[in-house]
Subunit: 426 residues, 2 copies
């Protein structure tokens, strides 16, 4: 295990500057932080050519080293994507300021006024891959919530990330916010990532964004708190008493509406008494949607392999797999308990029940221990935008601090504010 | 760094049993959890002799190995202390159940009902020293909040701790709650503490209770989230415009009312324009209270060493010291900014300003970044009981999850509960 004394001077300086800037940022008014966000949006408009030029370098290098089409598409920036990024910044600017909000306020018997008041966390580090929009998204969310940030983007998008971060730094500097509230690590040496994970004294929170490997690596090795989220197996259980038309619609929506995201459906558990009626119909529709079904023995024999070319036998590892593709595991269960046990073993992210039975719905809501639990709705709703949080940093599967979609509030801490008139303790 | 494969079978089994029991406990009704707490209170009454006998063994061993009077007093249990422990359990039983409480509930435009619902964290580990009441306190708080716990008490109180934990285990077993919801590590081998700190897959949260060394050790080495609290330097600043009588009363209260606790005052910063009037009077009273003053050069020359035998020159390390005794550091500053800078460098726990100036009060509340910030009140109020949380697990100086006094709510997580009628995402 590395300790802080082995941190390279570059990172150490960034850490010191971040801490210092975060203290200045904490005193900066809501109005000035919003003004900075609006100025960033303007700069994104007026600097499209510069950004796209920088992005072209990444694309050229990506082409020459043979990045996949999918990766190249993820890192590509054009005018329309830059407009989306700009709109995202303006959306963050328009949200209520989480800082200074008071809650649990009360007057004690002795006359003391006690409240919890939201404060910035301090310094947030983010390590991310591919998509350069994260550079601006995280900067905007951190500025809005009064946090300084240190960014380390993917090496395949380094030119784009540096161009975007430079735009942000220059813009906030112009409106009077310390440039070092947003810093980006340009040096792409991977050992610096490991060093970042040991900088407990500098970072109050780390947010990894990207694939499961990155998120696990950061979660397992970081010495400071980490948002581990965005990964997990999502389940849907079709209960004995349920509207099978609704079940079919919700399963298709949860699986195909955007299969590459973390709240897309991975496994369906079907009560044995409705499997005969639901499964062949469902398999037919999903075949049309291009979905491959990985079926347990019972569901496989019910379907019969010949009729459905998109159906194969599941392997044991399928139950713990987040597919992120048009693949769905299917299992027949004999009751709610069996479904709950299965979910307890493999779930934790987003789980749904389709039921018209009151008691089954209540048990599912009570007993499933996941970041979001749904009755008669698609798992795809587990999202900060959908839940009305405005913006979303990540979907946490942690239990401490924040669980599920994390918005601006979840990027804050609080302090107790106590106003008295001379009270002493008896 | 140790990894989980090197965990001894004893601890591994305790971890597995804790996890399993926590899942059962999560389904147990509030009524049964309260019934268990009431039964524990009764058992504490009817088993006083057994507990006191076990405690006598600890006292005898403590005497023979030459523990200090203070330590022996901390670990001693008699009928009156057992009554206090019992009353504490009944107080926890009488608090509202944090589990199942919903907040931020709303109906979305599409008709989905979304809310956050409090859930247990899962398994809480606690590593503590000396005072055997912690065994019962933590057990009661965990049972009330639906969490299983694994306890590792101090070796000097092992007989008392095991007797109390056995009483708790037997009692909850009798009312129908799995005994392993409360487990105690009897093996006092210190290497097992280091092993506990690596059991990330088993413990959702660790709570160390005891001296600063223990809390720092756990905070720096644990791989899972830890409540680091109960340590920190507390400051009080007397502003230019302030009621000096109030200042004197609050300083004395914050320093002497209970000097051995974490929210007792460690350092006073006095505006130079009121130092002449306040300091000699204050020093006289504090001398009468038995308080030693460690003064910076300015305050020392103002007081003159001869007149006040309780006054000595401060050393640089005094500013970062939590005294936990009748010792107070004193410094004269020229303005609020100097006070804020000093507090920013050394504070973080509880800080107070004595002022009659509106702007100074607001700046202090806004700019001091500590778990609790006070205007015209004693730092001794930074306490769960005083703030109306009912019970207190610890006073956190973390920024993530919970800051300041942690009550039952702060021992919970939440999940998003979404109730629909067939909604799918567009």
């Amino acid at each position: 295990m590395m300790n802080e004394s082995t941190i390279s001077p570059t990172l150490q300086n960034m850490g010191i500057n971040a801490k210092k800037s975060s203290k200045e940022l904490a005193k900066i008014s809501s109005r000035l932080r919003n003004k900075a966000l609006e100025a960033i949006a303007e700069a994104l408009d007026s600097s499209q050519n510069t950004i796209i030029e920088a992005n072209q370098k990444d694309i050229e290098i990506g082409n020459s080293v043979g990045l996949t089409e999918a990766t190249l598409d993820r890192l590509m920036l054009d005018s329309s994507r830059l407009n989306e990024i700009r709109d995202g910044v303006l959306a963050v600017a328009s949200l209520p300021d989480p800082i200074g909000e008071e809650f649990d306020a009360r007057i004690l018997e002795n006359g003391l006024r006690v409240a919890r008041r939201r404060t910035p966390l301090g310094v947030i580090g983010s390590i991310y891959e591919s998509r350069p929009n994260v550079t601006v998204d995280i900067s905007a969310l951190c500025l809005k919530s009064g946090n300084a940030c240190v960014l380390r983007g993917g090496s395949e998008s380094v030119h784009s990330n540096v161009a975007l971060a430079t735009l942000v730094r220059n813009t906030i500097g112009e409106v009077g916010i310390p440039r070092d509230c947003v810093q980006i690590l340009e040096d792409q040496n991977r050992s610096l990532i490991s060093e970042m994970l040991t900088m407990k004294g500098y970072f109050d929170l780390l947010i990894p964004r990207g694939g499961a490997d990155l998120i696990r690596f950061v979660g397992e090795n970081a010495l400071m708190p980490v948002v581990t989220g965005g990964i997990g197996v999502c389940h849907l259980y079709v209960d004995k008493s349920s509207d099978l038309g609704m079940a079919k619609d919700i399963i298709r929506n949860a699986k195909i509406q955007r299969p590459t995201v973390c709240n897309a459906l991975d496994a369906v558990l079907i009560h044995s008494s409705v499997a005969n009626e639901l499964l062949p119909e469902l398999a037919k529709h999903l075949a049309g949607d291009g979905v491959e079904l990985r079926c347990d023995t019972r569901s496989l024999s019910l379907l019969g392999e010949q009729q459905f070319p998109n159906v194969i036998q599941s392997s044991p590892s399928d139950w713990g797999t987040e597919f992120l593709s048009l693949t769905l595991a299917v299992r027949i269960v004999d009751n709610l308990d069996e479904a709950l046990e299965h979910i307890d073993q493999y779930g934790g992210h987003s789980e749904a029940i389709i039921t018209s039975d009151y008691e089954a719905a209540q048990r599912f809501l009570n007993e499933v221990d996941s970041s979001a639990v749904f009755v008669n709705a698609s798992t795809r709703f587990n999202d900060g935008g959908q839940f009305g949080l405005g913006a979303e940093v990540a979907i946490s599967t942690n239990k401490l601090h924040a669980r599920g979609p994390m918005g601006l509030r979840e990027l804050t801490s609080y302090k107790w504010v106590v106003q008295g008139s001379g009270q002493i303790r008896e």
